[in-house]
């Protein structure tokens, strides 16, 4: 049985038998140690390994399944044997022992300094230097720095210190695998595939990591066990979502690095059963940039399932956003046609009425931009069309979105200011009262309010609010009083008082019938904005008078200070004796 080894040379995986492996690996190790004493060591070794890989690859293409010692020797003769190379440089040939190899590895580790790599810098090369030292893609170091800024800005301080302290160098070589987003093995943005490719893991596992919080929450909810773990998972959902988007923005695509050939798949498909295949790399103390072939693409049930879940969420998000957008437009355009139960016009709430357009613009921006991205995401997920946009468009849209949010928050603050103070105005009237007669309370039925609408637009900028509260108090003396308390909010006490005063409501009193008709609506006139104006009307009755109330929801304080709440519907819970045949609620009946 032949042992086949897939040796990874310069990013290419070359299958060879054991004797070829011995020859090639000894050759490469000799080259490395020999040139480690020269300047430009890394590039030279790169060139050698790349050429070795190219020649070996050609042997495979010429028809053999794997490289044998014959091919290997051939390649070495083409490039030059160690003896010849040494001679050409004017050195005497020296074979290296394993002692030399370990010294080489140790030396490389021992003398390796931490420095700033100025040849590959974004700001100062600090992250490049750290990445080169640990053989990690500098991009990962940058991402970690940015994320650590969330930890109270730790990383900014560390970064500044490193900037000052580390020596500079220009290395020109990135000594690690490049972290990219995969373009042809992706579900959403290729983030998970790219990460899997970098760490040589299965993309499926990385995707699992991202949706782990969601799955964990669902799982814990299903089996109904709640512990502290469920808070952990719940918190993880927005974190993993935001992290994914953050990585999507940071990690670039690079189709050159991600090549489409894969000679491994050819060998594996032609594999005979008596070939025992394993993978190997020549151990070295640093990684030379690998241009890895992507993992063989397997269309998974799992991947399809993930696509469906993602598509489902995107669809719901689209639905909601679309609905909000339509509602916003309805408000803007259809404002004249308000017949329904809607809150007062926006311009009456805002501090200044010119802000109205800015407000709607911001709302539309906040809804439309995510909607746009959600739609594109949905399309990309389920079709093969490659809709790509300029980076500039992304920047512009993101800036607009952020501006919109800031604007809305600012407006929210201003609105809060406009209602920061409250003030009220009191009016008291004593009404003539005849002892022994019932007091009748009704409301005017302005606007024929059968459908319980709270807001009416009387004309341009004059509106009526149905927010009057009613109270009936059993007084200690013999007078009948009506007390009207008008309340409003404003930026300060003076303004609140002015607004309170500006409320209009009027009652009428028929002294013959002893019937008070109370107002149903507060009228707010042109020019007065909506500032949570309210009115409370209190009727103080003599202690022994009976009060008949028709269709008014009110609170009733009797002489013993018991409080009764009467709803306008006078439905369940009311004793029949409290309501007479005409539908009047009778208060204070027992005193009769």
């Amino acid at each position: 049985m032949n042992n086949i080894i897939n040796l990874n040379i310069s990013g290419q995986s070359i299958p060879m038998d054991h004797s070829a492996y011995k020859i090639i690996s000894e050759y490469i190790n000799w080259i490395r140690i020999y040139f480690s004493q020269k300047v430009d060591e890394i590039e030279i070794i790169q060139d050698f390994e790349s050429r070795i890989a190219e020649l070996l690859y050609n042997k495979i293409k010429e028809g053999t399944d794997y490289v044998t010692s014959f091919h290997a020797q051939n390649v070495i003769d083409t490039i030059g044997s160690p003896e010849q190379i040494a001679a050409d440089h004017g050195d005497t040939f020296q074979a290296y022992t394993s002692h030399d190899y370990s010294n080489y590895n140790n030396r490389n580790n021992h003398y390796k300094k931490l420095y700033k790599d100025e040849s590959n810098k974004v700001i100062s090369g600090v992250c490049s230097g750290i990445g080169n030292f640990y053989k990690i893609d500098p991009l990962i170091i940058r991402i970690l720095f940015i994320l650590m800024t969330l930890a109270w800005g730790t990383s900014i301080l560390i970064y500044l210190i490193l900037w000052i302290v580390l020596p500079s160098e220009k290395n020109n070589v990135i000594q690690s695998e490049k972290l990219i987003r995969s373009t042809h093995n992706k579900v959403l943005g290729g983030v998970a595939s790219g990460i899997a490719r970098y760490f040589n893991a299965e993309p499926v596992l990385i995707r699992l990591l991202f949706i782990l919080p969601l799955l964990g929450t669902i799982f814990l909810n299903i089996i109904n066990i709640f512990s502290d773990a469920d808070r952990f998972f719940e918190a993880g959902i927005p974190i993993s979502f935001l992290l994914y988007i953050f990585l999507w923005i940071c990690i670039p695509k690079d189709t050159k690095v991600e090549k489409k050939n894969d000679i491994n798949s050819n060998l594996q498909s032609n594999n005979n059963n008596n070939l025992n295949v394993r993978n190997a790399t020549i151990h070295h103390s640093y990684s030379i940039p690998k241009d890895n072939y992507p993992a063989i693409e397997r269309s998974n049930i799992f991947t399809t399932l993930l696509k469906i879940i993602a598509g489902f969420f995107l669809f719901i998000i689209n639905f909601i956003l679309l609905g909000l957008l339509c509602a916003a437009f309805a408000f803007i355009l259809g404002i004249e046609n308000i017949e329904q139960n809607k809150f007062p016009l926006i311009e009456l709430i805002l501090p200044q009425s010119d802000d109205k357009w800015l407000f709607w613009l911001s709302i539309i921006t906040i809804i439309a931009i995510p909607l746009y991205y959600a739609i594109i995401g949905l399309i990309r997920l389920f079709s093969t069309k490659n809709l790509s946009l300029n980076n500039i468009t992304h920047y512009i849209l993101s800036i607009l979105f952020v501006l919109g949010i800031f604007n809305i928050i600012n407006m929210g603050k201003s609105i809060k200011d406009t209602i920061s103070h409250t003030n009220s105005v009191n009016e008291e009237f004593i009404l003539p009262f005849t002892k022994g007669k019932d007091i009748i309370l009704t409301r005017d039925n302005l606007f024929n309010n059968d459908n319980n609408q709270l807001l009416y637009l009387i004309n341009d900028s004059t509106y009526a609010l149905k927010n009057i509260t009613y109270e009936v108090k059993q007084g200690k003396d013999t007078t009948l009083k009506i007390i009207i308390n008008k309340k409003s909010s404003g930026r300060n006490f003076e303004e609140a008082k002015i607004y309170a005063n500006a409320l209009q409501n009027s009652y009428s009193y028929d002294s013959t019938e002893q019937s008070i008709t109370l107002p149903t609506f507060n009228i707010i006139k042109k020019g007065i904005p909506f500032r949570f104006q309210q009115t409370q009307i209190t009727i103080e009755t003599p202690s022994d008078a009976r009060v008949l109330v028709k269709d008014i929801p009110l609170r009733y304080h009797n002489s013993n200070f018991h409080l009764f709440n009467y709803n306008v519907s006078l439905a369940s819970g009311m004793k029949n004796s409290e309501v007479d045949s005409l539908g009047y609620l009778i208060l204070n009946n027992s005193k009769r």
């Binding site: 060139d47 050698f48 190379i85 440089h89």
Partner: protein, 114 residues
């Protein structure tokens, strides 16, 4: 002191000049450079050429770009820089004057030994 060393030294001296000359005619792969040298009976190992090319590149006399290849990994495609062109002309002058000098000396010594 052996003759192989001396020969290597002589070859090394003109090698840079020859490489720059080849690249003056246009861009080339390392394998093409070796071919040209072979045609001129100047055999050089690939293992000698690669370090040399890298050294020249780092001295800013050459530059390369990656060229995708359907036959495998991308390969370096070398070309001469402006600095390299200046350098080449200086080497060229040196070569010409060296040729003349050596010619004179060998003629002179030939005359003497005749």
């Amino acid at each position: 002191m052996n003759v192989e060393n001396a020969q290597a030294q002589m070859r090394k001296g003109v090698l840079e000049y020859c490489i720059l000359t080849i690249l003056m005619n246009g861009e080339a792969y390392p394998s093409e450079i070796i071919e040209e040298l072979k045609k001129a009976q100047l055999n050089i190992l690939e293992g000698t050429l690669y370090p040399l090319l890298t050294r020249l590149k780092n001295a800013n006399l050459l530059e390369y770009r990656w060229k995708e290849s359907l036959l495998g990994p991308p390969r370096k495609y070398y070309s001469i820089t402006n600095n390299g062109i200046t350098f080449y002309h200086q080497l060229h002058d040196t070569w010409i004057s060296l040729q003349q000098s050596v010619h004179i000396i060998t003629n002179h010594s030939n005359k003497q030994s005749n």
